[in-house]
Symmetry: C2
Subunit: 235 residues, 2 copies
Amino acid sequence: MKKRPESPHCETCGARHKSIFCTLSPDEVNDLDASKNCNFYDKGQVIFHEGNRVNGIYCVSKGKIKLFQIGNEGKEQIIRFAKEGDIIGYRALLSEEPLSASAATLEESALCFVPKSQIMKMIAENPNFNFKMLKMLSHELGEAARIITELAQKPVRERLAETLLILKNTFELDEKQVIQVKLSREEIANIVGTATESVIRLLSDFKKEKLIEVEGRNIKLLNIPELTRVANVFE
Amino acid sequence: MKKRPESPHCETCGARHKSIFCTLSPDEVNDLDASKNCNFYDKGQVIFHEGNRVNGIYCVSKGKIKLFQIGNEGKEQIIRFAKEGDIIGYRALLSEEPLSASAATLEESALCFVPKSQIMKMIAENPNFNFKMLKMLSHELGEAARIITELAQKPVRERLAETLLILKNTFELDEKQVIQVKLSREEIANIVGTATESVIRLLSDFKKEKLIEVEGRNIKLLNIPELTRVANVFE
DNA sequence: CGCGCGATTGATTCGGCTCAATAACTGTGG
DNA sequence: CCACAGTTATTGAGCCGAATCAATCGCGCG
């Protein structure tokens, strides 16, 4: 049996301070803590399945998560990522629709489940929290719109360059400029919306052009300004 | 000078009953009405520009609106539509970011501007309204995710078929099965994310296959089940 | 040490874009 | 009411980006 770390307490949870819960009062934090339920996941485990119902949200205490849909040919499309402090499942909860995406861990992770009642209570009683929620949703909506335009209009090379930059912003670089997330070539293809082989060929092009360096699943960014130019992003 | 119809009163505005404002109390409706400002637009007029700031939302009292982004090559990408009872501009308002899209009328329209203060007041004081807002945003987010997957994975033919079905659901059919919105071939291409010529060729294919009939900008749907099959949508 | 999946590379095909040339249509002014 | 100009729609030819298919390579791991 795998040894499981202690379930974190919201009060001391490092993730909380970067999360939507960062401005709760001490009382509210205790409330949240009492209602939550923490679970640990191995790499690659599914947290929830597209199409199912949810009765709460998941807060990422530790780890990295991909959210994806399965297209008609069974191909995965990665919609977004979540990391420490992010919440997932809130879209389906608030719209009262089935989950529009599945979630799976990209590495060993810990997630706390917070029941709907608790979320609704905070929305109703804490205008600050409510406003943060509205803000998060509308921010996401803007991101989604941007992605739609780029998928519709940009060639794969530009989208891949941009994806690398987005991964950098989401997961940051270490001191060696390596993006702090490990994805298979196929997963990268499933973000960009292309074939695995195309990702491989283009990454190898970028390598030749000295924009990146690749070692297994580690990608080191050598020339971010030029990568930005290749990505053709201005905003 | 163009003759302008009377500014509608929220209380009697037909659009209100299908809108997010449908459950306001009489007092709130009066409040809303006092704060709003109605404007009339010709076909093709721009209501707001991507990148600008907003200080309120627009409620469509009459007419049809397209929301779109301009990609790097200057190509328009239509993100969504709004019709009677829909509101636009709320994403930027709530996220406190610049507008992520521009809005333009597809026909003569009337829109009421509701200032931020009024919206915020209703969010703060009317939990029902607040919840509707959260629900709308998260619903939209789900739609956006679905569009992302389809853009990334489906061929143009399927996307066009699906677009026709979406237009049908959004704008309805008249008694002759004609979609009740007039779009140029280029605009259709800018929804689907393809070239104008491709839309023309595929519409002509659909015509040959007896799926649709076309007369100028009127599109009549002859065989919705088969069109659904072509669109390859199951959900 | 060998199995098996993920990564890579090459060859080929094809969907869909671009470019170019008409044709049809819309609104305008005489 | 017609002629003209400027769009918008249509059609054809050719090209190209990217997908698919096939084979090989190279780990990571039991």
